[in-house]
């Protein structure tokens, strides 16, 4: 149960008392929120007294009589709005002049309640205003969190972009200073590494665009029928050279399914599985890519004989910019976005991805895409 601090401001003690009694037991419930809300009530007999309460203890809502001795209800409202306080106010007035209403609304009153009012009218008005207040605060909090997440994403992203720049600048400085002599040939490995790091940077930029495009839903998708074996053999061809350089064998067992998908989506899934299986494999290792049908669902499994992961490492695998950093991965380039993109694409199909891995022995990814086999 959460509290809403409600301040009742009226010079008539019986009025304050009866409102308090009516509202004490009122509970505000929003169907999708875990907690219910109830009112913690404070009373004040004048605007001056109310101002002291607000200044010292604050308030979330106010039930405010317009006609008060000394300062008027609208004066207090003006004070609240000048201090930019977030207090939702219901103005009570016996004199429903247009002027009062306009003035009160201009100073931020959420509702005008005409005297005399019934208990039900009071409850309805309070409930409506309280719900608005709760929602408004939740929105503000979400917005704050969104900003923080975005900042964190950009912070890590800029680090990932700065690293290759630092590496390339470092090599250029070495060449400029002729640190290891005058023969250009001795610098070829540095040049090769620089090209590799710049390629990685290019890849990071396009991955990041893919990721944000998928998240925003802007990515245009064309769902058509394709032959799974054709797509797989094209994707295997794409990693062939990389695999052969390290004597890694790729075996595939793919039935000739017809699948209805967006071509780019299925390519993202297969390339990610295959490139990871190559990158994190040992020299002379194997990759086994298989497909099965479970009804209309497609189950793809990609198993490698690579370096594997510990349980703790598999747990955080799909988070953005997660890279498993250890002795065995220090020579492997990557940006830590591939698997979060893979997961997001799979989610578009209401599918799932699971990983089983043993450190030092290998990893197996299982992807299930429901309803795509035709």
């Amino acid at each position: 149960m959460k509290n809403i601090r409600l301040l009742i401001v009226d010079d008539d003690p019986r009025m304050r008392e009866s409102c308090s009694m009516l509202l004490e037991s009122l509970q505000i419930r929003l169907p999708w929120l875990e907690d219910d809300y109830q009112f913690r009530i404070t009373e004040a007999g004048t605007a001056e007294e109310a101002q002291t309460v607000i200044d010292n203890d604050g308030a979330d809502m106010m039930l405010l009589d317009q006609l008060l001795p000394g300062l008027q209800g609208t004066d207090l409202l003006e004070y609240v709005s000048s201090q930019e306080m977030d207090i939702q106010t219901i103005m009570i007035t016996g004199n429903a002049s247009l002027d009062t209403a306009v003035n009160a609304t201009r100073n931020g009153a959420a509702e005008i309640l005409l005297k005399p009012f019934t208990p039900d009218e009071l409850r309805t008005s309070i409930t409506k205003t309280a719900k608005y207040q709760i929602l408004q605060r939740i929105v503000a909090k979400l917005d704050e969190e969104r900003k923080k997440t975005r900042f964190e994403f950009i912070r890590v992203l800029s680090h990932e972009l700065k690293s290759p720049l630092a590496a390339v600048t470092g090599y250029l400085n070495i060449m400029k200073n002729k640190t290891i002599g005058n023969d250009l040939n001795t610098y070829i490995p540095s040049i090769d590494r620089s090209i590799l790091r710049l390629d990685g940077m290019k890849r990071l930029i396009s991955d990041m665009l893919d990721l944000t495009r998928i998240e925003s839903g802007i990515k245009a998708r064309t769902i058509e029928e394709y032959s799974l074996t054709e797509i797989v053999s094209e994707m295997v061809e794409g990693v062939r050279q990389q695999a052969e350089e390290r004597k890694i064998k790729i075996y595939t067992e793919i039935p000739d399914f017809k699948i209805t998908v967006d071509r780019v989506d299925i390519e993202i899934i297969l390339t990610n599985l295959l490139t990871n299986a190559v990158k994190y494999n040992n020299e002379g290792g194997e990759i086994r890519l298989t497909a099965h049908s479970i009804g209309k669902a497609l189950k793809i499994q990609c198993k490698d004989t690579g370096i594997g992961m510990t349980e703790e490492e598999t747990d955080r695998l799909f988070k953005e910019f997660t890279r498993i950093r250890n002795e065995k991965t220090k020579n492997i380039l990557g940006n830590g976005l591939g698997l979060s993109i893979l997961k997001k694409v799979i989610t578009l199909y209401n599918g799932e991805v699971n990983v089983e891995s043993k450190f030092g022995e290998g990893t197996e990814f299982t992807v299930i895409l429901p309803g795509i086999i035709t």
């Binding site: 630092a166 590496a167 470092g170 090599y171 070495i174 200073n177 950093r325």
Partner: protein, 129 residues
């Protein structure tokens, strides 16, 4: 250089930063060893017994380097060696929240990428103190 070669320990998870700093320092006559994580650095530091450490900050986790620096300052079985922090993150304000002892061994903070001159100058300055 003095008659006995000084030993520099490069700790960085970026293999290219290690490679190029190794090129620069070996050309200047230093003996170099490296580690790709704070964990690996802890394992290697005892045997290598470096005179100075060039330390990255963001490695296996965002503050791995700072934690390692803190351990060097406090743990008895780790040798007390001056450290140069080498980072692409500038002087990140969130680091300042790191416990005081972390800073005890850090002699200098350098921004990545560092020029060969700046790196060797910083090392020489600290070793000749």
């Amino acid at each position: 250089m003095t008659t006995t070669a000084k030993k520099v320990f490069l700790v960085d998870d970026d293999i290219d930063i290690i490679t190029q700093n190794r090129m620069v320092l070996e050309a200047k006559g230093y003996v170099v060893a490296d580690a790709a994580s704070a964990k690996e650095a802890e394992e290697k530091i005892g045997d290598f017994a470096p005179d100075i450490i060039i330390l990255d900050v963001m490695m296996e986790h965002p503050k791995a380097g700072l934690e390692f620096a803190g351990k060097i300052a406090t743990e008895e079985d780790l040798p007390k060696i001056p450290i140069i922090l080498l980072t692409s993150d500038g002087l990140n304000p969130s680091w300042l929240a790191s416990p005081n002892f972390t800073w005890a061994r850090i002699s200098k903070v350098l921004d990545k990428p560092v020029t060969p001159e700046k790196l060797t100058e910083a090392i020489e300055k600290i070793l000749n103190k």
